[in-house]
């Protein structure tokens, strides 16, 4: 076993009718809402992974923010990240607190020894809201699943268009009025940027095509199902499944639609990437 196994190779296919960006028709206009759901579920999953406990109540936190700003912000900063007073996002009173039991007591009684005044007039409800605001601020910092990218569209769309049709050779396979029409409405800028750089496996328009040459010289062609060092498997045009051990004399050729995208990753400058992003975003 194991000697003289067949070889597999990846063959770039530069003539793709479809591409990763092009195939986004699937959940077209639901993209915005499903994107939101994805963001929420990412935040919840990350929170669970980090062991951050329950999710802060957004309504209470919004009420708390209104009180926190004028009451506490002067010393602790409006975002609670500290000023003349300590950074509360890194405070054990906040991190050990669950529903205001520690924070509320501290705010109501103050910490005279450390120069923090008491706030005896705040109601229980107000103290709970302040606590919730602090937990939310912790959440937005500690839970990286909540992070949102800022404005990534900083490039020059005209330069991006020139690159698309010129040096980048994007127009060899793609068209602004064809497969990429309205792409700027279908995808948010970060998704668009990441998809043109290199699409996620799940975003592929179709699985790679494979040709397997057998020791007797005959060929099998179809859609690649699996390829490792030991087996290749595929579905042929009739839908029949084939699994072929990679023994001596077996050759595997995979036509990878995305090889050109991968090669471009060695070529883009940041400026070209940003210009191209800016251009694609204009394809509303």
């Amino acid at each position: 076993m194991g000697t003289g196994r067949g070889k597999w190779v990846l063959v770039a296919c530069f003539c793709l009718g479809t591409s990763a960006i092009a195939q986004d028709e699937a959940p077209a206009h639901t993209a915005a809402s499903s994107g939101q759901q994805q963001e929420d579920s990412r935040a919840i999953r990350t929170r669970e992974f980090l062991g951050l406990g329950r999710i802060p109540d957004a309504k209470m936190a919004a009420e708390g923010a209104k009180i926190f700003g004028p009451t506490c912000g002067f010393c602790h900063g409006a975002d609670a990240r500290g000023g003349s007073g300590p950074d509360l996002l890194r405070s054990s009173v906040v991190l050990d607190d669950n529903q205001g039991e520690l924070i509320g007591q501290t705010v109501r009684n103050g910490r005279p020894a450390k120069g923090m005044p008491a706030f005896p007039s705040l109601s229980d409800e107000q103290l709970r809201d302040i606590a919730e605001y602090l937990h939310q601020q912790v959440e937005l910092t500690a839970n990286r699943g909540t992070y949102k990218l800022l404005n990534i569209v900083t490039g020059n769309p005209q330069a991006g268009e020139a690159y698309f049709n010129g040096e980048g050779k994007c127009n060899t396979c793609h068209s602004a009025t064809g497969d990429l029409a309205h792409i700027g409405s279908k995808m948010k800028p970060p998704e668009l940027q990441q998809a043109f750089l290199y699409p996620a496996a799940a975003d592929r328009s179709s699985p790679p095509k494979v040709t397997v040459t057998l020791p007797d010289g005959s060929h099998l062609e179809g859609t690649l199902k699996h390829l490792d060092d030991f087996y290749v498997s595929l579905d042929d045009a009739q839908g029949n499944y084939h699994s072929i051990p990679l023994q001596k004399g077996v050759a595997v050729k995979v036509e990878d639609q995305l090889e050109f995208h991968r090669q471009m990753l060695d070529k883009y400058t940041n400026q070209q990437m940003h210009d191209l992003t800016a251009y694609l975003v204009t394809l509303k």
Partner: protein, 536 residues
């Protein structure tokens, strides 16, 4: 060495070591009938001289038994099914291994379970657990929420527990405690809210603190000049979450430290940020820093430098040297003189473009143009770095260093632009990945041979899991791909000699030992432990 022996002599009469693991056994190089620590021995080489299984007969390697983890609580918080990332201990015919929150003892002959210890955590990350430390008849385990727990090896009964880290501050504990003389070395993890890293030595009898080394200097101490202010330094990260290695003759512990905090937004911590992203050499009895080498000065890419510092003696320019080698997460292969930290080789083992070259100490110089930006910065290197925690191996037989590497590209974003950012402050998106097993020449860092795995089925989303490497005197290298295959290679040239298709991909460092004269190879994949031996 003197102090180490003194410690041993001092403690031997006090505890009963009749049946368990004698601390002296840990001084044994390349043990064959036991696997008594995370790395097998203190060197971190993960090389076994055993030859019963070798290139000529490995095709007869077959499954002896397997054991599937069952935990009472159902799917684990935030991670789902249990994933074995530990390297089990095998002592006196018993295998001791872990998943987060759980410890198991199995009869190594049959896989029959002897006992199971279940912890109910109150937080921490369940991302993995690297295993156990053992001293006499006692085991040491880190629960994810900062509890350092000692168990009776015979029964799994808890002896005591000590709190070593605060999970409310987002510390978590995944390491395998490391027994060195009369110390149990315990590291910590956690980088969500900018806490400082540290490493502790605890008393094996009581669990009490013996010494603590902090990943950041105190105000005014050497190293503090690499931070802008005390506040940045106190929140600077530098976690110690993977087991280190130890040279008994020099009495030095070698430990890797994690990324600086805030993780990706470095504008509030301008400077090199010592001793984050470093290899540090500490006196094992005092915890005092003897030397350091910083793999990623001012890291802004989450590239923990915690990967195993592997120790071996070999020739450089014809002269025998005491060496330390590390394939760092930032994509560089480092070879140092482990007596003093002097750089011998610093060379990328995967394509990368984040560095402008090396400084006079052999440390990479980060390119300011390649740090995370709001609109995205394209990098040549995988988002997770060139490798991760997966144990590498060094074979004195081939004089090659083996690492499972990632080639790739990523784009990095800055999301916190404030003057004093907190938390991660950014994100990394991996664009393309190829897994490749590399064999590196320690003298040059050149790739002697490599085995790249197929990318045809898609390559995004490399998680933290991954295959470790074991090499043996039988000319073999055991590792795995990401398709579930556990594979034996010829360690000299990378030829594949054998494989076994597991239910999950290899997720730990494989190990080997003899039991009743028979050589076994153990691998963990997902929730299942697989034990192999030659068909008779």
């Amino acid at each position: 060495m003197k102090s180490f022996l003194a410690c041993l002599l001092a403690v031997l009469p006090a505890v009963s070591l009749a049946q368990g693991l004698q601390p002296q056994q840990l001084l044994q190089k390349e043990p064959t009938n036991t696997w008594p620590t995370y790395n097998g021995d203190y060197s971190g080489r993960r090389f076994s001289p055993l030859t019963q299984i070798q290139t000529g007969n490995v095709h007869r390697l077959a499954l002896s038994w397997m054991y599937r983890v069952r935990i009472p609580s159902g799917p684990m918080r935030g991670v789902g099914e249990p994933d074995i990332k530990c390297t089990p201990l095998m002592v006196n015919g018993i295998l001791y291994f872990t998943v987060p929150d759980h410890v198991f003892a199995l009869d190594a002959h049959t896989g029959q379970k002897l006992w199971q210890y279940d912890w109910v955590d109150k937080g921490g990350h369940l991302v993995g657990n690297r295993g156990l430390g053992m001293y006499g008849d006692w085991l040491y385990f880190l629960a994810p929420d900062g509890w350092f727990i000692s168990l009776e090896a015979k029964t799994g009964k808890e002896r005591w527990r000590q709190k070593v880290a605060d999970e409310k501050m987002q510390y978590f504990t995944t390491g395998a405690p490391m027994v060195v003389g009369h110390h149990v070395i315990v590291g910590v993890g956690g980088d969500a809210i900018d806490v400082p890293g540290y490493l502790e030595a605890r008393d094996p009898v009581t669990g009490q603190l013996q010494w603590r080394w902090n990943s950041e200097p105190s105000k005014g101490e050497p190293g503090s000049e690499t931070w802008p202010d005390e506040n940045a330094m106190r929140h600077g990260g530098g976690m110690t979450w993977l087991p280190g290695t130890y040279d008994p003759e020099l009495n030095l512990l070698y430990w890797g430290t994690g990324n600086a905090n805030p993780v990706m937004a470095g504008q509030g911590r301008k400077g090199a940020d010592l001793w984050t992203c470093s290899i540090v050499a500490l006196n094992a009895d005092s915890g005092k820093l003897v030397w350091y080498f910083q793999g990623s000065p001012h890291d802004t890419h989450d590239w923990d430098n915690t990967e195993t510092p592997v120790l071996f003696d070999a020739k450089i320019d014809g002269k025998p040297r005491k060496l330390l080698a590390q394939a760092a997460r930032n994509g560089y292969f480092f070879v140092l003189d482990r007596t003093n930290g002097e750089s011998i080789v610093s060379k990328p083992y995967v394509p990368l473009n984040w560095s402008k070259g090396l400084d006079a100490r052999g440390e990479p110089v980060p390119d300011p143009q390649k740090q995370p930006t709001v609109d995205g910065n394209l990098l040549t290197i995988n988002g997770a770095g060139g490798t991760n925690w997966m144990p590498p191996s060094y074979s004195p037989q081939t004089e090659l260093f083996y690492v499972n590497a990632f080639r790739g590209y990523s784009v990095t974003y800055l999301t916190d632009t404030s003057e004093h950012p907190e938390g991660y402050g950014g994100s990394i998106h991996t664009l393309w990945t190829q897994h490749v097993l590399e064999a590196l020449d320690y003298k040059t860092g050149n790739v002697k041979w490599s085995h790249a795995y197929s990318t045809a089925m898609g390559t995004n989303g490399v998680g933290l899991g991954g295959p470790g490497v074991l090499t043996t005197g039988g000319g073999l290298l055991f590792s795995g791909d990401y398709f579930g295959n556990f594979i034996a290679f010829n360690s000299a040239n990378g030829e594949i000699l054998w494989h076994f298709s597991m239910l999950h991909s290899l997720g730990n460092g494989p190990e080997t030992y003899t039991l009743d004269g028979r050589q076994y190879v153990v691998a963990g994949g997902g929730d299942t432990l697989y034990v192999f031996a030659l068909n008779e």
